[in-house]
Assembly symmetry: C2
Homo-oligomer: 237 residues x 2
């Protein structure tokens, strides 16, 4: 067996979010550029050209978390190794991919469950310091949160539109399965990046949901590292 | 983007079965060795060491067929391109992979639905001429079928055991999602080979089912061709 090496430039954010859970042994982006520089990305009012990218680690059977995920068990049962490529098993190629994903992302859209589950560990600065996070929710929270968290009660399309505006010339990262499943049928997703991990979780939350008709993809790149098969796809419209 | 090339030896059968559906434009194994030689594989009575391999084309969201699959629509709605890597999009590397899979397979285990859906198109010689097919079913069919079809009413474990005996020093191929989903929790599957196609089907039959606990895999090889990402995994026990 010979695993091919390759150059791979990835955009998206979920890889960054995944690395900031409380049980992560280290922050793998610590050697990257200062995060605070992202705040300085010029915002182009009225510009909505930012690509929207879902970027998630998935098991071979398509799960992003195992069963019983919670604040205390953010990855769910049996899914702890889904992010090994970011930590103990990370190679230089994995780390480069992560840094690239973080650097290219200008704003995040996530679901309420992701927010509720992880906000305590992300803290005041958000999952990636300085990036605005648009939380799609049916109701505003009862308490106030730092400005990096912005709640959108009018649906995923509005949240993505606001995130595009905030992202400027960077990309919008979709975090979690719910927002992808909502945005994809609306034609709002440009790319899907998955990091396929050699694991069958067998339950929990799947990245992909039901569709009323099939959607074609273009595979645009592949990177093979020991702990994951990194695949990028463009959504064909 | 540069797609890496690689050597890849694959065992399994589903790739061969897939190519023999009625709506396939050509038989991509026609340039391979004569199938009839497979009948001459020496059978070692009492030997049950044959590897059991599931080998399936899947969409990125994990489907092996789309919705509404039937005799007249064997791949289901929206899933027609799942097998393009075997036909219109096939490269030499894809063809070599297919030939290798066919050559290494000594017997097949399939579910009753796969049998009922496809037997008319496979005809008297079975999906791959000369290979015995063990059909897991609750009831024997009302009519007789050629000897290549053997019905096992005592469960998937018995079907696999009989197929191992028949396979001799070759491998047992699992055809379809049902037999994989039944055999995997029983510890009866050695390897899982998937051909990931750039498509979201969004409904139909998923390859992987629910599990009571996660199963770790070792990724043993990767082959990237234009129409599919071919991944091989060994089930870790």
């Amino acid at each position: 067996m010979g695993l091919p090496a390759g150059e791979f430039v990835v955009a998206g954010l979920d890889v960054a979010l995944q690395c900031l859970h409380a049980d992560c042994p280290a922050d793998p982006v610590e050697s990257g550029p200062p995060r605070s520089t992202r705040r300085r990305t010029p915002r182009r009012k009225g510009t909505t050209m930012a690509l929207v990218i879902s970027d998630m680690s998935i098991s071979l059977d398509g799960y992003v978390t195992g069963p019983n995920d919670s604040k205390d068990n953010p990855f769910g049962d049996g899914a702890g190794t889904l992010h090994d490529w970011l930590f103990d098993e990370a190679t230089d190629a994995d780390r480069a991919l992560l840094h690239s994903a973080v650097d290219r992302t200008g704003a995040v859209v996530m679901g309420r469950w992701s927010f509720d589950k992880c906000v305590d560990m992300w803290g005041e600065s958000g999952p990636v310091d300085g990036l605005p996070n648009y939380v799609v929710t049916h109701r505003e929270p009862d308490r106030t949160y730092p400005d990096v968290y912005r709640f959108v009660t009018t649906g995923v399309a509005d949240a993505i539109e606001q995130a595009k505006e905030a992202a400027g010339d960077k990309v919008v990262g979709l975090h979690g399965a719910t927002v992808l499943q909502q945005a994809l049928p609306l034609g709002l997703v440009d790319e899907i990046h998955v990091h396929v991990v050699p694991l069958l979780v067998g339950g929990g939350t799947r990245l992909f949901g039901d569709l009323t008709s099939a959607i074609s993809l273009d595979r645009t790149d592949v990177l093979v590292t020991p702990a994951a098969t990194h695949l990028r796809f463009r959504v064909v419209r």
